[in-house]
Amino acid sequence: MDFGQFISYIGSGTVYTVGVTLIALPSGLLIGTILALLYVYGGKAAARIMNIYSTVFRGIPPVVLLFILFFAVSKGINLSAFWAGSLSLGVVSSAYQMEIIRGALLSVSGDQLMAARAVGLSRMQAIRNVVLPQAVRLAIPPWSNEAAIVIKDSSLVYALGVPEILRRAQLIGASSQQYLLAYLSAAVIYFLLVSLTTRLLNQLEQKLSIPSNP
């Protein structure tokens, strides 16, 4: 067996890797954004709860959380390993994404909110139309980092039996006894996925950047 065959066998797991990422990242973003808004604008009690959420979820290895959430979720609802794993990863990521969005919201000066209120916008409108659009731009670079982490962490669902890249590398490695080649192939594919994503997000950052004089 040559390298090309390895790549194509293992590479067919990319569908799952990408699939897991495309579920985990957006669901983490949705949850993270809502929690960040509650954290920053929801008052003291909400901030305290969000702080606990963040500390707990970031203080446990993702793979442990993944197992806990997976078994908790699959007890309640009948979900495939793919969906349960993806959503669990989304929840893990939401804590990190919450911190990213929170930092970005706090970086937009409170004066911007005040100026929007002075025009007559409600608090919600001001946050939505003035603070969030500026925060999103500030959040892209750290978010790009988190996207790379989620792509890489998607390999954790292999432990649940989802035939993604790492799982396939392990299988073909075992059957051919060429472990090094198998894992090298997996590494190459992950690396390509991560650098492509980073590059796309870089372009998005450029595209959204606010023009100003040099």
Partner: protein, 255 residues
């Protein structure tokens, strides 16, 4: 009979133990331009922020026309759209063009269609001489231009009264004139204005009344002639002398 637009009665504001002002009374009549002067930390900005409810006074009442806006249950957002505010550091929305800045309140608060909002916003930008900069972002505009957009943004809401909080004090001396000129024109057009500024030339020429505030009290108020030429109190004379001197020096340096 002059018609009062803003009536302030017995207004008191404290931050913790710190009394900013106490039992303050002030009336602003329709079409009047009132200039407030006073040393730093006197509570001028706090007064303006109380008027458009960005901060709540502890005591006293404010009426906008016949509506007591300090009453319980007042719709603050409703009140604020009738009171324009211009800030010392402009506070344009950084992610929007000049046009976008002026349009935001029109589409979100007044619910105009995009087309109608654009038309109205362009008219306001034209009024401050910046129609040709409509598609520039704040970061692409000079300070003076940014402040004029700030004025257009407030004007677009057709406010009953405009509040200016030191609108030129963050500007390079050579950019102050263009902003003051817009304000002068606005005053001539009959806009009701409450202006905190240390531009004595503007005060002398444009103000109907000058209010001198110190340590949370209104020491004296009167026409520019009364205040500059026959002030009742020595404090007023001293302050005006000091400020004119300081301001004159700055002007000379700019030349």
């Amino acid at each position: 009979m002059p018609k009062p637009i803003l009536t302030i009665k017995n207004l008191t504001k404290t931050y913790g133990q710190n009394v900013i002002f106490q039992h303050l009374d002030l009336t602003v009549n329709e079409g009047d331009t009132i200039v407030i002067i006073g040393p730093s930390g006197t509570g001028k900005s706090t007064l303006l922020r109380c008027i458009n409810l960005l901060t709540r006074p502890n005591e006293g009442q404010i009426w906008l026309d016949d509506l007591e806006i300090t009453a319980k249950g007042t719709d603050e957002d409703q009140v604020r759209q009738h009171i324009g505010m211009v800030f010392q550091n402009f506070l344009l929305f950084n992610h929007l063009t000049a046009l976008g800045n002026v349009k935001l309140g029109l589409t979100r608060v007044k619910h105009l269609s995009d087309e109608a909002a654009t038309e109205k916003a362009m008219r306001e930008l034209n009024r401050v001489g910046l129609a040709d900069r409509a598609n520039h972002y704040p970061g692409q505009l000079s300070g003076g231009q940014q402040q004029r957009v700030g004025i257009a943004r407030a004007l677009a809401m057709d406010p009953r009264v405009m509040l200016f909080d030191e609108p030129t004090s963050a500007l390079d001396p050579e950019l102050i004139g263009e902003v003051l000129e817009v304000m002068r024109q606005l005053s001539l057009d009959g806009m009701t204005m409450l202006v905190v500024t240390h531009e004595m030339g503007f005060a002398r020429e444009v103000a109907d009344r000058i209010v001198f505030m110190e340590k949370g009290y209104i020491v004296e108020e009167g026409s520019p002639d009364e205040m500059f030429n026959h002030p009742k109190f020595d404090r007023t004379r001293e302050f005006l002398w000091k400020i004119t001197e300081l301001y004159g020096k700055k002007e000379k340096e700019a030349e």
